[in-house]
């Protein structure tokens, strides 16, 4: 099973909210193959973000296991998790989360800025190359507020790729974008998936960009079921964008 990049077994995550305990995940199982392009869908509050955090080495589960490249990460300490995130994971967020005072270039460099293994010249060269790959070769020295939403998300994608990660986790990556720009962003992510062989795990409640042969996991009440676009449509999850 060498081609499994990440595997969660019987994953549980409980939160305390005052007196009550919220069971966000109650024994979720998922197995993601290297180089796949996977969707996780579900209504808000279904536990999809929690799953994302656990798969992305951002949080510790209450129970169960998460294995990345066959290595158990659920019991690691904060420092080890930081290293996992630095070396193996790239994040793309709904609100881009770029640092407003820094140029596109510096934002892309940010994850590895404190990494002694890479020189600044090398890091800069890699960042510029990535910005060109995402189509922002002409925007390298612009700050986020000089960029459009779509361009910002492209910067974020380049940032997610700077550490050459195996897994890219995208949390509602098109949530803040119009349909056309959203489609472009998906096109770019699919290109990265195909050309660079990166594993993409995309959390969304927006089925518009899912293709019929994509792997789709539906998360509901803290458990995961594999499904497909066709099935989702049958059950009434429409590809309607939320306007915020």
């Amino acid at each position: 099973m060498n081609d499994v990049v990440i595997e969660a077994k019987n994953l549980k995550k409980y939160y305390k909210m005052g007196e009550t305990i919220v069971k966000a995940l109650r024994g979720a199982n998922i197995k993601i193959k290297k180089g796949s392009f996977v969707f996780i869908v579900g209504p808000s509050g279904s536990g999809k973000s929690t799953l994302m955090h656990l798969l992305g080495a951002l949080d510790h589960p209450t129970g169960g296991s998460v294995k990345m490249d066959g290595k158990e990460i659920s019991k690691m300490d904060d420092w080890e998790l930081s290293m996992i995130r630095r070396n193996k994971v790239g994040f793309i967020f709904q609100t881009f989360n770029l640092v407003p005072s820094l140029t596109a270039l510096d934002n892309v460099k940010l994850p590895l800025l404190t990494d002694k293994r890479i020189s600044d010249e090398e890091l800069t060269a890699r960042a510029i190359k990535l910005l060109k790959v995402v189509g922002l070769g002409h925007r390298i020295y612009h700050t986020p507020n000089e960029l459009s939403g779509g361009e910002r998300q492209r910067v974020a994608i380049a940032r997610a790729l700077i550490n050459n990660p195996e897994i890219i986790l995208a949390d509602e990556p098109t949530g803040e974008l119009d349909s056309k720009t959203g489609a472009e962003i998906f096109e770019l992510m699919r290109k990265m998936n195909k050309e660079e062989g990166k594993t993409f795990i995309i959390v969304t409640h927006d089925t518009e960009y899912i293709k019929h042969n994509d792997t789709v996991y539906h998360i509901k009440d803290g458990v995961i079921k594999e499904t497909s676009k066709r099935e989702l449509e049958k059950n009434g999850m429409k590809g309607k964008k939320e306007i915020t």
């Binding site: 929690t50 949080d59 420092w79 930081s82 995130r85 070396n87 994040f91 967020f93 404190t114 550490n163």
Partner: protein
């Protein structure tokens, strides 16, 4: 990292500036107070205490160069029993020599210049230089000399002057008539010029002088004669020069104590300022630190970033504070008319102060930032 830290500081300029105010005030106070104290101290040690005898100056004057005494006082004092000699002095502060100097350049281009009355000096000192120094070349000042100057060898060497050369002191050009042995002390040299020209340079009236030096017949009577002068002459203070120096030293001790108090308050205020600024800045950037953690920054990386920011505040505070301290010293120099300089040690001390306060103020905010939970910080879910 420092570049990123600098950019972060530039994001909220007014807040960074507010944080700097405390630091800048602290550094300015340290630099200005110490330089002024040391300046006054050196001046007193180099002028007054070098002269043996009694110094007579205007009653209750706050600072010796500001003293004015009527020339007729000389004759009144001469009549007192036990007084051997009374010599008038006009103090001139020279800050430009041969049109050089005058900036924040410290002791260079600053010398002590005294206006003297050659007749009175030579009457009882029997050819001795008025300041007790030995004549090396040339001659003493004589009656009828106008733009004539006696330099000590220190100045003569520095400015390559010999007997017969011209030297420009402030706006006046003098001819060197004599060169004496050097006097020593922190201020590199002294020059002696005729009384009238000194008055003109110092801008004091024709019948006035800065102070009088009184020599008693017997050195052991110095204190008694000083008391007699104070009792018999209105409007003057008379102090044995040693006592005068001691008095100044006491005042300087008070200034010193004041300095430590102000310094401690400055540390406290500046520290709180930095702490507040950095804490606000960190809380405002919660999400950003969350992202940094999410993309693999460790707690240590974040601590280093925040401390770099507060370290930079410290450095900027030190730079501005040193400059404004130098300006205050320049102003004090102008009003007090005495040489002052900012020593390297002092600048190092002030810089350490500013940077240490900066970094200390950043420790708690840095720790807070490093402990942020990335999930809560990013705020998704």
């Amino acid at each position: 990292m420092l570049r990123i830290a600098m950019k972060n500081l530039m994001r909220n300029k007014s807040r960074s500036i507010l944080a700097l105010v405390g630091l800048v005030l602290g550094v300015t106070t340290i630099i200005a107070l110490i330089s002024i104290t040391v300046g006054i101290d050196n001046y007193v040690t180099n002028t007054v205490s070098k002269i043996k005898g009694i110094i007579v100056y205007e009653k209750d004057v706050s600072f010796l160069p500001l003293s004015r005494i009527d020339e007729q006082t000389i004759e009144k004092i001469e009549k007192i029993d036990g007084v051997r000699d009374v010599a008038p002095r006009v103090f001139v502060t020279v800050m430009r020599i041969d049109d050089k100097g005058g900036g924040i350049s410290g002791f260079k281009e600053m010398i002590r210049v005294y206006g003297i009355d050659p007749i009175r000096e030579s009457k009882t000192r029997k050819g001795q230089h008025p300041l007790g120094s030995e004549l090396l070349r040339g001659r003493w000042l004589a009656l009828g000399d106008k733009y004539a100057v006696i330099l000590d060898e220190n100045i003569a060497d520095d400015y390559k002057k010999t007997v017969g050369s011209k030297i420009k002191l402030n706006d006046y050009t003098f001819k060197v008539v004599g060169i004496t042995k050097e006097m020593g002390g922190m201020i590199p040299g002294s020059a002696t010029i005729p009384l009238d020209i000194a008055r003109e340079m110092a801008g004091i009236k024709q019948n006035e002088v800065t102070a009088l030096l009184v020599e008693p017949d017997h050195p052991e009577e110095t204190e008694r004669i000083a008391d007699l002068i104070e009792m018999q002459i209105d409007g003057v203070d008379a102090k044995p020069t040693e006592e005068y120096a001691k008095q100044i030293a006491t005042v300087l001790n008070y200034i010193d104590a004041l300095f430590w108090i102000v310094s401690s308050i400055a540390v406290f205020v500046a520290g709180i300022g930095i702490l507040n600024t950095m804490l606000m800045s960190v809380l405002e950037r919660t999400k950003e630190f969350g992202v940094l953690k999410a993309v693999g920054w460790t707690e240590e990386d974040i601590i280093v970033l925040v401390l770099s920011e507060s370290f930079l505040l410290g450095v900027i505070g030190a730079i501005i504070g040193t400059l404004s301290g130098a300006i205050v010293v320049e102003i004090a120099k102008h009003y007090l008319g005495i040489p002052m300089a900012i020593s390297t040690n002092l600048v190092i001390y002030a810089w350490c102060f500013s940077i240490i306060v900066g970094v200390l103020g950043g420790i708690y905010p840095a720790w807070r930032a490093s402990k942020l939970d990335p999930i809560e910080a990013i705020g998704v879910g």
